[in-house]
């Protein structure tokens, strides 16, 4: 039986905005966790996790030597900083949306 772990336990992240596009970079604390995160935290996983928020495509860029993934989420800011009705119109807190996702850790 695989164990579940919240991404926040093993990684940190930062959100940025440009127009109606949000990007969240995700970095593991321990390089040993990078393969697990890279395998499970796919662009498709992120897109499917927040279908009501992310209206466009999700692109993922991997910086393997720095153990980080960059998610670029189109049409994901409810219009962008100047038009969103969200209290967080920049999507500054989107980093913690991703960090709230659960990953499966194999027993071995």
């Amino acid at each position: 039986m695989a164990r579940q772990i919240r991404l926040h336990q093993i990684a940190h992240a930062r959100a940025g905005d440009k127009g109606n596009t949000s990007n969240v970079s995700v970095w593991v604390y321990d390089p040993a966790d990078y393969p697990l995160v890279k395998a499970q935290l796919t662009a498709e996983r992120v897109r499917l996790a927040f279908p009501n928020l992310i209206r466009g495509d999700v692109q993922r860029y991997a910086l393997d030597h720095l153990h980080g993934l960059n998610f670029v989420m189109g049409e994901a800011l409810e219009g962008g900083v100047n038009t969103s009705l969200n209290l967080d119109s920049h999507g500054k807190s989107w980093s913690y949306l991703l960090l709230g996702l659960m990953l499966e850790v194999p027993d071995n």
Binding site: A13, L63, L85
Partner: protein, 454 residues
């Protein structure tokens, strides 16, 4: 060369900038104060009063740092001119004179305002290929991102203070590096490395521990007195990011990594007016306490077209709130929301009502967005019982200010006409801008530098 950053956004703190200017032994200090939102508001301010439209903190910032930068021979480079660079240069001259600093050269870099170059037929690439005319809102201004080459002539004139409007943020740092090290305009690898240094500095404390602390996971020492960053950049562009030793905050691999990709999309192609920079080759090395060495960025030819931000008058944003606390607070707040949905009748998409403390910032994100709160709002529900207070927030956007005012009135009326124990009503109406992006040919842009002396 030692370059500091004294502001990473329009409302950034001042005292740490004075500390850095005083103690950082800096060759240059940048203040980056323009965003999509602040630029549009700059235009609005200028249209309302031809003497305004620059950063409102410009005078206070210069009064704070000019004595130190004058003593230390540090060049100030800032985009605090926002939408009115000439007026900002006048303010700088006045501050210098007030401080008894006569003979300073203040350079005003203009040419970013392309309101007269664009047309109703200009295509907005972030608006489904539709045009400016298709937006159907009054235009307030259009600014192109200038590059380091627009700033260089001011540095060649040995300006003490360089004030720009919209420039690519990293260009504020790349320009003094090009000036010092003589990097040519097609020396792509060096331009990319200077751009990385600028990109890492331009958000101020976001690389020294700001926008970072997560207690128990990512702790930051003395965040209350966090210092602004400084970069030591060598002739080959290799950079060490650090801060004043006595300042709070931290610089480590984690803060630098997070900032390296901040607002970056494809790391292999970070586009600026100066270069196409490849951040994917960057190496980061822990180089002692609060020191990270950044090297090996690569560059390719710069884009032929430049990005233009086009701002439109978007009417008004109204926000109003009322709070419920104690037993059954969630149920009473949910009732208030249901009442507001009945009383404030507007077409969908312009009105939003959140329950802050239950589900607000991330309410749209979960697949359950818009879920019925009935279950959570039951008096005996555990989650309801665990919530000590809830704020109902109602937000409405409209070109009709009266419609927004009517919404505020409805929220305030909940004090007497809503659920029990509602308190703490606050409401405000703020002007709203809408921005879109276009591209124009580099050849259509003509940067200029005007010199003023105090």
């Amino acid at each position: 060369m030692r370059i500091g950053c004294g502001a990473g956004f329009s409302s950034d703190r001042l005292q740490p900038a004075i500390d850095l200017a005083t103690e950082g032994a800096l060759d240059a200090i940048i203040f980056e104060c323009v965003g999509e939102r602040t630029l549009a508001f700059g235009h609005r301010d200028r249209l309302a009063d031809p003497q305004r439209g620059y950063n409102p903190q410009l005078g206070a910032r210069l009064r704070g740092v000019l004595p130190a930068t004058h003593t230390n021979r540090t060049t100030i480079i800032t985009n605090m001119g926002v939408a009115n660079v000439p007026a900002a240069a006048e303010v700088a001259r006045g501050v210098a004179r007030d401080l008894g600093l006569n003979g300073l050269t203040i350079a005003a870099v203009t040419g970013d305002d392309v309101s007269d170059t664009i047309t109703p037929d200009t295509v907005l690439y972030d608006f489904g290929g539709r045009t400016i005319a298709d937006v159907g809102l009054p235009l307030v201004g259009a600014n192109v991102y200038l590059g380091a080459d627009a700033i260089l002539p001011a540095l060649d004139e040995e300006a003490h203070v360089v004030i720009t409007g919209r420039v690519a943020d990293p260009a504020l740092v790349l320009a003094p590096l090009r000036h010092r090290y003589g990097w040519a305009g097609d020396d792509w690898d060096h331009l990319a490395r200077g751009t990385v240094a600028g990109h890492l500095l331009e958000c101020g404390m976001q690389i020294t521990g700001g926008y970072f602390a997560d207690p128990g996971y990512k702790d930051v020492p003395d965040l209350a007195h966090c210092g602004f960053p400084l970069a030591e950049v060598g002739p080959d562009g290799t950079t060490t990011i650090t801060k004043l030793e006595r300042a709070g905050g931290r610089v480590d691999l984690r803060t630098v990594k997070e900032q390296l990709l901040y607002e970056v999309h494809d790391p292999t192609a970070y586009l600026t007016p100066d270069v196409t920079a490849d951040f994917s080759t960057v190496t980061l090395t822990d180089n002692g306490p609060d020191r990270v060495r950044v090297a090996a960025a690569q560059g390719r030819v710069r884009p032929d077209q430049l990005k233009v931000t086009v701002g439109f008058d978007g009417g008004h944003l109204g926000e109003a709130g009322i709070s419920y606390a104690g037993p059954n607070a969630v149920a009473r707040a949910a009732l208030a929301r249901a009442i507001l949905q009945e009383r404030v009748q507007v077409d969908t998409g312009r009105l939003r009502i959140d329950l802050i403390g239950v589900d607000a910032l991330h309410a749209s994100a979960s697949a359950a967005a818009g879920r019925d709160l009935t279950e959570l709002a039951q008096p005996d529900d555990e989650a309801n019982a665990a919530v000590r207070d809830v704020r109902v927030r109602c937000a409405l956007r409209s070109t009709d200010r009266d419609e927004v005012g009517a919404m505020l009135w409805e929220v305030e009326s909940l004090l007497c006409c809503g659920p029990a124990g509602g308190g703490g009503y606050r409401g405000q109406i703020t002007p709203c801008v809408v921005t879109h992006s276009a591209l124009i040919d580099r050849d259509a842009v003509r940067p200029e530098v005007a010199l003023h002396r105090s």
